[in-house]
Symmetry: C2
Subunit: 633 residues, 2 copies
């Protein structure tokens, strides 16, 4: 209701604006100002027209006003939908719709200043809109779930995106090769489009999943896949663009794969190192006494990881994601309480605004980008090809994952029980179908498509844009229904999630610390928690063995400690198997591989990177914490 | 120390960047990409050069990386200076200095992409950097002090800025008329420069004052003046620019004055109305159940006031300032606790980042703006003229303010005591001198100067830029010393200030409500609080009389209530004068004029705009609060 009023206002404002645009044009003619500056101005976007700075400022004000109004409408609709429990339509779909309506109005109204201002700009997208979303994703990530499902995520993300891009690329290349629409693109270009259309969107589907509290395992797999495949499509796209205008050879596939792996691991390293840098900075200075400066610095340094990584031709998304994870894992506990809150709320707020803004932008783009060339058949073929590609990626890879888990489970079981039992699928059929359905495309694809070169770039851009909007509307609009049809487990309330959402400002630090410490294993509603066979007593023993011995080293040489403890870290206890806990055990077979890291993290990394292990945890875990924490001050 | 390290890193990064810039240039030549998009791209800023989007993205990444690195250095220096209690050098001075160093490096290094990216852009300044500072100023404003010193603030801001602009304009016009430097500007242009150089800076001086906890009265006067005169110089500048190339007539002065008054009041109204709109929106919806959406919406709507006002050719600064004040006065109490905190921290963080960024930008601009024409004599004359102009504005107006207060005091006193007593100055000499010293110029002036037109625009821009940087360095660097020399009262700890700064997240709402209610009068350390002669008992009586009678009307017709209560609102009690409280009384003579508004606010506006008057206040103030507050739900 109110959103209608707002739209109405937007309408009137736009009409007035359009009039003013015409009027001010005349004003400009009257004013004797021939020699004006700023032909490179980003607001008018048109280097040929010299605008009076005052008029120009007015136009940018109106453009921004309209953008913010759209954002307000979208957020308000989101509130309204939540309030009325309407789940058929989603906020992001409405954002696109609002963007399209306003885009149409802008397109039809006279004057091109506002139209030029609101067109999609890939620089803004990559430098302003994308980072907050990625950073917040990393920061809010449920680390236990993420690392427990790492195998599935990586399989879906890396070979999955590759298969998807290749399938789309081949279908499009064949279609254009047939020559039915007089388009002739090279194979490298077809692969570029395939890469852009392989970046799935982490926003819409996950906000629906969040609203329904979908099973954390499915959530984590889709979330991780969509985050990582953005990074992968970007790298693939850039690789394909390098071959633009050159004959593609078979070796270029391997070159691309090598390039990708290098990029991924270096970016990950950059992110983790910067996160650790922040943790150490906070630990060894008194900056937490000035929370205002502290929170600014944390935000800025996190962003630096993104820009640094991009500047080095690495993947900023990967760096930022892992920087966020590292920040939450270590630096969080070194911040002042006020900064903890500020950072969390600011990340959430910026991410929310960016998400909505991106979809509005997509809607606007459909009408305000004047040079687009729409080829209906190509669009249909592309839309079909992404479904085919998604199918080719999800189902075989799911079977592969199920097979891996099955083999591994049977191998580890047979040694103990000696009999061949039926192992439940790691990813059952309804999860596979949901993963397929979750393959809607997002703004990353459009932003990449803006970089397509060559004769048919506006045709390809239009195709990508329409396909992206279609997938968001179709798949995004039907996700809620599919959850019911596929009988996916919903309403899973994870304790950690609720403590994130509700107002927990005065929660004492000790509790927060514990919830990411070893006790966290009891928190999840789901059985894929880590280390169910390590008790607190065991940890206490381990800590008693290790910490006093390292506390003197720690100050001298961090790396030395790293090497030493890797050897001394105890094996996870493998006691007798309780049949009742069989399913739990199955879920944790892969986790036990990462057990050594968790122990190592608790015993070495956390003491080195964290400021002071909170007393209540220390009391229960270590014997003599006082000399250790005082040493660090 | 660390800042040196950071600078060193910046150095290396820049060198690498420069190399890469050259390398990538070559890459571009090699790639067969002749027909590229985005000639209107805001990142390269050069419409003639078509850049590969990937390369382009890399450049924007490096440019942003450098900017953020500068910000980090500045903030880190700020922390270091505070930590080591170094007060001779201020953070903003260092920001300018860092900006200059990096600007020089960028200027000297090959490749012009980064140079183009980092040049000052008035659109960014007005649309991105300025709003957070103004919004935060309004939101964090000590409302009691501000409105109590309104007379002094308005006199310094309106005639003060006018005098300053005219004096500077005349001096510059005479200087150029002499023809010593072969510059020939029209009187309208000279006045334009005068207007740009009359906008004093609200950042540096106030952060020093904050650090020293300077007397709230002086703080408020200088704060209010510098906030309002930004708005006034902008309007004056735009008025002068209208006369560019036209002969200036005497009537244009009156036209300008009328235009200014209209602009000011309409802008104020827009800001207040939008603030009230937010309060009502929060009151009448359940949006506080979704704090994430709530805080986004509040932030966005506040920004809308700025852009709407600018779009209507009004003053966005004034609107935003009063929107912030209204938000804090009404909407704050309708927010969820989480949004209260989010909004406050986000405003502070954004303002802090913007402030530092602006000064870095100014420093960069000195070297990266390639077309500047420096005329040393003109710069010296301009620097002298701003001192003369400030002198002409501050001292006569201070005498005028003292005279007004004296006359008013004597008149109101003589009716009661019958004798002629010596009245202390409202603004004593050391306060006048400090106000003079606080007249350093800021980024608003430079942003305006970018809009100067005509043949000598780069000469005038260079002059304004250098003068601004000089005043910040000279006056900003010596403020701390002047505070001691002039024997200004420092270390005044206002209770409200401390509760703002420290971590008060779990402060119960009732206390917050009271502190802006009538009890607030006891809070300030200074005697210029309002209504010392209205006791809570009196208020209770008034409320008993008024509220039950209005509570039924309120729902039907707000305007009707407004008219009615203006008449029925009780006169502030004027009981016998206690000689011991003479100074208190003197300070509140002007305040008693605004007493009716405070009563009106408490009894009518707050019940209408606020969601629920907190029980503890209600119990002590009104007789039957329960039916009244339930009515509003």
């Amino acid at each position: 209701m109110l959103s209608k009023v707002l739209l109405n206002i937007a309408f009137r404002v736009l009409l007035t604006t359009a009039k003013r645009a015409v009027d001010s044009d005349d004003d400009d003619e009257l004013l004797p100002s021939p020699d004006l500056p700023d032909s490179d101005d980003p607001i008018t976007g048109d280097p040929d027209v010299d605008l009076n700075p005052v008029t120009e400022e007015m136009f940018s004000s109106w453009a921004l006003f309209i953008m913010l109004l759209l954002l307000i409408s979208a957020l308000w609709s989101g509130y309204y939908l939540t309030q009325k429990r309407i789940r058929a339509v989603h906020e992001t779909v409405l954002s696109i719709f609002y963007g399209m309506v306003i885009g149409l109005i802008i397109r039809m109204s006279p004057g091109h200043y506002i139209q030029d201002t609101v067109t999609f700009n890939s620089s803004y997208f990559f430098n302003v809109l994308l980072p907050p979303i990625i950073l917040n994703s990393g920061y809010e990530l449920n680390q236990v779930n993420f690392f427990n499902n790492m195998v599935s995520i990586l399989i879906f993300a890396i070979p999955g995106t590759f298969i998807s891009a290749v399938v789309i690329g081949i279908i499009l290349y064949i279609w254009t090769f047939l020559g039915l629409e007089s388009i002739d693109i090279s194979f490298a270009d077809a692969m570029s489009v395939g890469a852009t259309l392989s970046a799935t969107d982490p926003v819409t589907i996950l906000s629906i999943f969040n609203a329904y509290k979908v099973d954390p395992k499915l959530y984590t797999i889709i979330f991780g896949e969509s985050l990582l495949n953005d990074a992968i499509s970007i790298v693939m796209f850039e690789t394909c663009q390098k071959f633009h205008g050159q004959p593609a050879t078979f070796s270029s596939v391997f070159e691309g794969a090598g390039l990708f792996l290098m990029t991924f691991s270096v970016s990950l390293l950059i992110g983790v190192l910067i996160g650790i840098l922040v943790a150490l900075l906070l630990k060894h200075t008194h900056i937490r006494r000035y929370p205002q400066i502290e929170s600014c610095l944390i935000l800025l340094i996190a962003y630096e990881s993104y820009f640094f990584s991009n500047g080095c031709h690495m993947s900023g998304i990967v760096s930022l994601l892992f920087c966020g994870i590292t920040l939450k894992h270590y630096a969080y506990y070194n911040m002042s309480r006020r900064s903890q809150i500020t950072i969390k709320y600011i990340f959430q707020l910026l991410a929310r605004l960016s998400e909505n803004f991106i979809f509005i932008y997509l809607g606007l783009e459909l009408f305000t980008e004047v040079e687009l060339v729409y080829k209906p058949m190509l669009i249909i073929v592309a839309a079909i090809s992404i479904c085919v590609a998604r199918w080719c990626a999800v189902f075989p890879l799911s079977h592969f994952i199920n097979w891996i888990y099955k083999v591994k489970t049977i191998r580890s079981m047979s040694g103990i029980t000696g009999e061949n039992i039926s192992v439940p699928d790691e990813i059952p059929y309804n999860y596979q179908m949901m993963t397929f359905w979750a393959g809607l495309r997002g703004a990353v694809g459009v932003a990449l498509a803006l970089g397509i070169q060559g004769e048919y770039k506006f045709t390809l851009l239009a195709t990508v844009l329409v396909v992206v909007v279609l997938t968001v509307i179709i798949f995004g609009g039907t996700t809620a229904g599919m959850l019911e049809v596929l009988n996916i487990k919903t309403g899973c309330i994870s304790e950690e999630d609720t403590s994130d959402d509700e107002f927990d400002i005065e929660a004492p630090r000790a509790i927060n610390f514990m919830s990411s410490g070893p006790m966290q294993t009891d928190l999840g509603p789901y059985s894929d928690t880590n280390s169910p066979d390590i008790s607190i007593d065991q940890l206490a023993v381990n800590n008693n063995k290790n910490i006093p011995q390292h506390s003197s080293l720690m100050v001298d040489n961090t790396l030395g400690v790293l090497d030493e403890t890797e050897n001394t870290s105890p094996n996870p206890g493998r006691s007798s198997i309780d049949k009742r806990n069989l399913r739990d055990k199955l879920g944790t077979i892969f986790n036990s591989d990462s057990q050594w890291f968790q122990n190592f993290d608790e015993q070495v990394l956390k003491p080195v990177f964290l400021d002071n292990v909170s007393p209540s945890v220390q009391d229960s875990v270590t014997a003599s914490p006082s000399d250790f924490s005082s040493q660090n001050h």
